[in-house]
Subunit: 255 residues, 4 copies
């Protein structure tokens, strides 16, 4: 079954270094960073999965996966990497239909992963104190075609949470301990709180605050990922490795 | 909003060491490993989130999350841990509504994670050569209330794949290279193949086979997780750490 | 050149699980934990490197290496592992002829490694507040035939250091920050201070104190070691892994 | 006790980024890479440990430690890092007075560490097939004032070993398995063989060969080091981390 690009499609172009650009076929622009000048409507009728030439580069055309959406995202602030988003979604038991809250929105990286996980019936609410971050992140969510699952608020989560009965709350802010009391109230029974913090002292302050409330299953994890290079010469771990992203702390509300 | 246990509910009981037992309230049995003898219908009317005494132990009552389902699972074979399942779901871009295939089923650990990720409209197809493994795993899926999303086959995946246009295929078998050609055919364009292998030589043989087909974005990852112990005495990494689970290899089909 | 065991030798017996017992051939006892009852003078005339039977077990006879001495050591307290001792010796640039101070002595594990590194002309001075620890450790040093390089003192290093112009000082005590000022005075110019601490807060308190003095090249390292299992079935990292030992902090005195 | 620089001294100059240059005070040159133009005899009479200004940079003057010698080394080929040298010395039980063989010499990094460990009575023999590598490495050893402990040979170690009764042999060559049989013969009973290899297949081939001889305590280790960043903002692991250096395989000769 060969699918072809149609006029209302959004596609991802992947070059031979696996850099990705997500393109709305009916977009009026003809300049795309990393691709060059071309008319996106020229893609109509091309086969999904085939490699095409634009300018002097080859690109595969595919329907965007959530990995593509995360990798094509335009960064403004430091992002939560997909590997950490994966642990957040698993450890918070987030699933289709859930209503989850995050703060702040950053560049929308975690937001995309969460929106993808709660779709098609769920909702992500995202607080950030800076409206420019929200605007930038929502552009990424639009590119990812996930904006309909996200509701944003220019709001400081350490001043309060409006929502109730949330399935999960994820805090990626410098002082997550300031939002623990509000998070406890806003979570449903059995719901999960998660904080993402690069520094040990942030973890310690957060856990000290968490212990004042009826949270169980409190734990802090560090996740390290290393690529293995498999070539004709043999196999070895990659020399390039990110030594640290952030500590993930999880806790679960009971009565 | 206080919810109470009703007669058709399935609940998880969590003891103070965070061991978990999932119980169907209308179950006719009154003996539960790790709990003791009690009548599950006694739970009716108790508040979700409260702690109750059964025998001489305290248990919290909650609605089972996917984490609870994975932790309450009864093991028969070596399982894929939730942390690896999280990476598989993220790197294969699995989402609600997808149709994914796994082989073998093992104890159903990855199956639970996948079923939870594709629900409510998606499907997991699971091959295993041993019907006793399938029977055991399906008991775990019933406990997890996810059996309706899973279809099983007593079948050797290295002999062929019946399905077409699959969104993802995950191989946890000793010789995944034997199923690469069938996987290429059975995947949709843009779909992901993943193999989970503890040994380097398995990875090498698999990648050698993968390179014969039009797969892109081929990569092998090792994921290591360490808990941080945060106590009144101070913070340190846990001394207990699992040095290795399996290497995860990913590849994506193009034309 | 075949060497044979002589009456004044000290040998190591290594069983087939690589457990090690160091034995003085002229020892009057005939009971050895892990070996059983036998007369050590029976070893005289046996070839070094050969495997002999004692009771129902096979043992290789070798001249004890420093690894043997470290592995045969009888533990009383938590020990500094050889891998960490290796980093301490390298990062403190300890060499033959140096005079180094450690506190506390523990079971004498680091003491053995240091004595071996400074021999034959150097000296290790070891403080501990508990004379029973010193007695136990010195038994291990006697077994290792390294006691002549070690001088002990029942003394709290956070109350002062008697020595001057030390090449290195290694602190394995709960409150190393309490000995930083004395260490600065007792080190020669260019000499190294090292602290071994399991907890982050210990590292932070120590570095805060170190920064009050003219120390340069201040750094904190975490060293993780994993064994690779290479067998006929293939190669993989070991599942068994120690997640943490201690953080090593280093600093170097200038004027 | 204040020591001052004398006319026959060799000193290390350390700048404020901890870059190091080792300088022979009576050297006739006046140009030093990383320092600029100055007359090294101007250092005479300056206090060890003080900071001096040369050009527009500040430098501490110290007597070179082995760490300084290793860090000041001029690289030509990929080097064995000090952290791996530390494990090699510890796991091969190398001590003052020993006679050890290495191949190849590379830039002389391991050679410096070994020479420092066997001094003042021991010896390092170093084989390399390329005389230009030997020449470059010996310049580093001269700078380190350790050349008197090292004897070099332009020789392929996979063609044979001239020496006998060696305490340890360390192989850092692409095909260490080719030198295992010669190494077995050249080692004393109880002596250690070590190989350093980045690739898994190198480890596998080496161990297959090692198993043909009477070696015991065969093991392969991977060592990972991460720096902890401790600042006024808090503590976290460094983002910069080297994912891999080489696997270290150890084995010990018996009869």
């Amino acid at each position: 079954m060969i699918k072809k690009v149609k006029k209302d499609d959004t596609v991802v172009l992947i070059d031979e270094s696996y850099r990705k650009i997500i393109i709305d076929v009916k977009s009026p622009t003809d300049k795309f960073k990393g691709v060059g000048v071309f008319n996106p409507s020229d893609l109509i009728g091309r086969k999904y999965g085939e490699q095409i030439k634009i300018g002097n580069k080859q690109f595969w055309i595919l329907t965007p996966s959530v990995q593509d959406k995360l990798q094509a995202l335009k960064r403004q602030a430091q992002i939560i990497l997909p590997r950490d988003s994966a642990h957040i979604i698993m450890n918070c038991s987030i699933e289709s239909g859930f209503c989850v809250l995050e703060a702040g929105i950053g560049s929308g990286s975690l937001t995309i992963a969460l929106a993808n996980a709660v779709a098609p019936e769920g909702k992500v609410i995202s607080y950030d104190t800076r409206s420019d971050f929200i605007d930038h992140a929502m552009k990424n969510l639009k590119m990812a075609n996930l904006e309909k699952y996200v509701k944003t608020k220019v709001k400081d989560i350490t001043k309060g949470i409006d929502e109730k009965e949330l399935d999960a709350i994820i805090l990626d802010i410098p002082n997550p301990w300031g939002a623990v009391s509000y998070s406890f109230k806003a979570l449903r029974v059995g719901g999960y709180l998660c904080t993402y913090s690069p520094l040990i002292s942030q973890v310690e302050n957060t856990i000290k605050e968490i212990k004042k409330y009826n949270f169980i299953e409190v734990k802090t994890l560090e996740n390290i990922q290393r690529e293995m290079i498999v070539s004709e010469f043999g196999t070895r771990p990659s020399f390039d490795m990110l030594g640290h992203t952030g500590y993930l702390t999880f806790a679960r509300k009971v009565l």
